[in-house]
Subunit: 327 residues, 2 copies
């Protein structure tokens, strides 16, 4: 049974609210970590009646700090290794403005934890479920902020979802190896790959373009929301064009379905990762299923990433510049 | 003298506020029109103390309408020709929730105007300054919403900027022809081009990747915020790699400078459109210069677009699917 400690975000939020009236929430990170905060931002921004909820790449938060950032701003930052300089600096920015700060990181005691008021150390390396803990804890914080400030009709459903989804993610990633191997064979020689998704999964498309393909495989990549596809990007969808398509169950599925239909009509090459194929709605209540797509997409895409790295003989840890140069 | 009618947004906002208490602002559009709303969203989201300010691709607004959308939500929609089905539908969604709706369009009487409470018909075709009217009016609406709801210390500076910037944009686009021709020669055979920008200009990078290159030139393209560059995308920056780089004056310039330095260090091929080269800060007060970068970038990029279309003998109006198929 894979799970996160749901009491931890609950207690942290209760503690923050015991001495701060919260008006706004800022999610702050860089790259994949910012993207892993996006499902929580999407959930909270769509469901709050009162809070101002925004997300930032860390240096925009540092260099152009919004005027509303103050002691009433709940800041949630994230860095896997805890050493991302811009995000470490964002914690200083937040503390300078007297914000309560919660940081998510895989590394206890890392630089990110120095200025944080609260730290959640999430799993990552152990298995696929662990790789979903980062966005999972962010969603749990968002759920508790909403429930404890203004209440949320589907609170219990979100808790059920957060209880069940990690097991589902692990099983999904374990079960997709054959499809992932086929993906790797089909896509290993492509020079440029598009990623598409919608709703809470939008930044899963973005982060896998930016980190799995450009960063870890040195393959050009771009990401588009499926709702944006027909307003430009669809003009390059010709026969055999490579797409990784994160299809969501829930509110925005009709947007995905429309784009997928067009891609298929034009004979594009589509690696489809569809939440319905992995039974997301069986693990998560229908009322909130839309918010759990990103975790499922993340887990399955991890195995796809492992397989393409293997097929290309290009390890996911190989870098040109990162960890090697000062910049 | 190029200018917009600043009284129009002022009066529209006053009229809305005379019978609605406003708690939130939703900017809604698709593709380039959503991107043209982004500078206004960026300005308002960063400077308000009280409003919840979000931006949506139209169908996410339609299919997953936030719980807070109601009579206290000021909805601003935009479609150049006024016939974008998703955005026309967004006006219906907004009216269903009793929101006051202002629509920006180049076409009086278009479908977008049917459900709008107020319409601003902006210029577009006449010249480069006219092409900046769409984002310009959106910023003007944002400035009036802020000033008339909670006040804004730099209100007069924003009005000065909105008075002067269109003339500057026209002059900049007229003066860049030689650079634009060089860009066209240098980039016309590239198969994949990256766009980069930061701050209020972020979506100028996005929209030119999505519409100028994928849509109008059938060239693969991706866009990244310069603050995200070092967290993945920089790994594909090798010698001769093509980038269009929108450099901003103002708050986020250090982010741009850091990314540009690295691109140059790696010998990438960079078409640099730098607001400082066009004297943005001479036309616009320093206190607010950061918000006017997108208009300058848009105007200059338009001439770059004209020149690359000419060099490639691929008119900007040529489409595979748009205007030809049902989808």
């Amino acid at each position: 049974m894979y799970e996160i400690d749901l009491n931890l975000p609950k207690q942290i939020v209760a503690d923050v609210l015991s001495n701060h009236e919260i008006h706004s929430v800022a999610f702050v990170g860089c790259g994949a970590s910012m993207s892993d905060l996006y499902p929580a931002k999407y959930f909270l921004a769509n469901n709050t009646d009162k809070l101002n909820v925004q997300i930032f790449t860390a240096n925009e938060f540092n260099y152009d700090t919004p005027s509303w950032v103050n002691e009433h701003t709940f800041v949630i930052t994230c860095s896997l290794g805890g050493s991302t300089p811009e995000t470490v600096e964002a914690n200083k920015t937040a503390k300078k403005h007297n914000c309560p700060v919660v940081s998510l990181t895989n590394k206890a005691g890392s630089a990110l934890t120095v200025d944080a008021d609260y730290v959640i150390v999430h799993g990552f390396h152990a298995n696929f479920a662990a790789k979903c803990e980062k966005p999972g804890y962010a969603i749990a914080l968002a759920v508790e902020i909403l429930q404890q400030t203004e209440g949320y009709d589907h609170y219990e459903d979100m808790i059920t979802g957060l209880t069940n989804v990690f097991e589902l993610c692990e099983n999904a990633a374990q079960s997709c190896k054959k499809l992932a191997k086929k993906f790797a064979e089909d896509f290993k020689d492509d020079k440029m790959i598009y990623f598409m998704a919608s709703g809470a999964s939008e930044k899963m498309a973005y982060s896998h373009a930016a980190f799995l393909f450009t960063e870890m495989q040195w393959i050009d990549a771009a990401a588009y929301n499926t709702g944006e596809y027909f307003h430009g990007p669809f003009e390059v969808s010709t026969e055999g064009k490579p797409y990784v398509f994160f299809m969501s169950d829930g509110a925005t599925r009709p947007m995905d379905a429309r784009a997928l239909t067009f891609l298929e009509r034009m004979g594009a090459k589509v690696a489809l990762i569809d939440s319905k194929d992995y039974g997301l709605a069986d693990a998560v209540p229908a009322s909130v299923v839309t918010y759990f797509n990103p975790l499922l997409h993340l887990a399955v895409m991890r195995e796809y990433g492992n397989q393409i790295a293997e097929a290309r003989q290009h390890p996911l840890t190989m870098r040109r510049y990162m960890w090697k140069l000062s910049y």
